[in-house]
């Protein structure tokens, strides 16, 4: 059974370690915050200038001066800090953020990512995505394995304009967890009930399948 978006987020949350500083992109990545394991303390960074992002405010407590990079009203947690955009991307570039989770349109077997532009469509801009992918030491992509046309999003090479090159470390889709290795995508886990064959069939890039592939644990 393919994972729901919530389950993808839940699986990614297992990658969190105590003390991690984490940047979560818009979409599925944002949901990861709901599944932080018990007993683990994680600090969320929002690249518009905040460490220690908390949940959405209760109704009536929204503050226009306190938003996240998705422009949503949020709160701060005890121990939070505010800074300008240069310091925010400074700490990202300096590798101080332990984990970055992003959505993607395509990922290549070299770890290239495309997630900002579709030729022929209105281009809205890359926002902070290019800085994040070029700088972060540990990037996990959260995305569907195939696009709406059923075509694989895990490719030998990206067809869309790139956001960054050789930067993605891991991918979690609704059917698989994969690692980017020097030799291509390496299948680490499969969703409960999903066969290796299905994953092979939906992966256009080079896929390494070694030994028994375990089912994801939650």
């Amino acid at each position: 059974m393919a994972l729901t978006k919530e389950q993808i987020a839940q699986r990614i949350a297992k990658e969190l370690k105590d003390g991690y500083y984490v940047n979560l992109g818009i979409g599925i990545p944002t949901l990861v915050a709901n599944y932080i394991p018990e007993g683990i303390n994680v600090v969320l960074q929002s690249e518009n200038g905040l460490l220690g992002m908390g949940p959405f405010p209760v109704e009536g407590k929204e503050d226009a001066d306190l938003i996240n990079a998705g422009k949503q009203t949020i709160t701060t947690l005890p121990g939070s800090s505010i800074f300008d955009s240069a310091m925010s991307f400074g700490m990202i570039r300096a590798g101080k953020v332990d984990l970055t989770v992003l959505g993607a349109m395509e990922v290549s077997e070299q770890g290239d990512i495309a997630n900002w532009k579709i030729p022929g469509k209105m281009v809205k801009g890359m926002g902070g995505a290019m800085d994040l992918v070029a700088s972060a030491k540990n990037i996990i992509v959260a995305m569907m394995h195939t696009n709406r046309a059923g075509e694989s999003k895990l490719l030998p090479a990206c067809t869309l304009p790139l956001t960054g090159i050789k930067c993605i470390k891991k991918i979690v889709t609704e059917i698989a967890v994969l690692e980017i290795t020097d030799d291509g995508f390496k299948l680490l886990e499969r969703a409960p009930g999903v066969s290796v064959e299905e994953i092979v069939g939906k992966t256009a890039g080079k896929l390494i399948v070694e030994g028994e592939i375990p089912e994801m644990q939650f």
């Binding site: 306190l66 304009p161 960054g164």
Partner: protein
């Protein structure tokens, strides 16, 4: 020397056609609402606006777009704006998209007297086209130049009559960076106080960077994505 201006109209009075402006804010958060309104009223055209976003159709820089005052936007993200899209597709408007961290750091570079900086953002992408790149410690970086803006227009929370500024929460964003970067920096503030009322240790932008300051009025502070938790935890 008096830095205090009566209002936004007075502060932007010499911003004329063709000026290069920096405008602080992230989305609609921390934008110089009063100055934008004054610019719409005064009506300079052919402006280049360096700002992370382009506002929405009926607010922020979107208001200047509606008046066709903007020749070029330099931004990292320009969604949420139908008029922007129309002008862009019709060729009326030029847009230069820049990674957000690069945008921020190019402002800081100007304020710090650094002519250029190195960043890995955009390496291997179309952003790198035509740009010089260089490898340090086995990692490739692009050379990106400091911005050169005629005016920086920022919004702060508190300011004093010497031009010292303090920002509030994530309304800080690009504001202190742009404040450092303008040849002339205009700051509008929620609250203008006398020198000595702000703790020197809490100043985000020292007054040396700020040339004009005024207390703004009628801030709308519009929220783009009102997200709430139904019940308190």
């Amino acid at each position: 020397m008096n830095k205090v201006y009566k209002n936004a109209d007075a502060a932007v009075a010499d911003i004329n056609d063709g000026a290069v402006l920096m405008l602080g804010g992230f989305g609609l958060c921390g934008i110089p609402e009063n100055s934008i309104a004054a610019l719409v009223k005064k009506g300079p055209k052919n402006l280049t606006c360096i700002s992370n976003n382009a506002g929405v159709d009926d607010f922020g820089i979107g208001l200047m777009l509606q008046q066709k005052q903007v020749k070029k936007m330099v931004s990292s993200y320009v969604g949420e704006n139908a008029e922007f899209e129309r002008q862009l597709l019709s060729g009326e408007l030029e847009v230069e998209l820049i990674p957000q961290g690069t945008l921020a750091t190019r402002c800081m570079a100007a304020g710090y007297g650094m002519p250029a900086i190195f960043t890995p953002a955009g390496v291997g992408t179309e952003v790198a086209e035509g740009k010089e790149s260089r490898v340090f410690n086995d990692k490739e970086y692009l050379l990106e130049y400091a911005f050169d803006a005629d005016f920086a227009i920022v919004k702060a929370w508190k300011g004093d009559t010497d031009g010292n500024l303090i920002f509030k929460d994530t309304a800080r964003n690009f504001n202190p960076l742009m404040a450092m970067a303008g040849k002339i920096t205009i700051a509008e503030v929620d609250e203008l106080v006398e020198p000595g009322e702000l703790d020197p240790n809490t100043i985000h932008t020292p007054g040396i960077y700020v040339h004009r300051i005024f207390e703004g009025v009628n801030y709308e502070k519009r929220i783009e994505q009102r997200t709430v938790t139904k019940s308190a935890k």
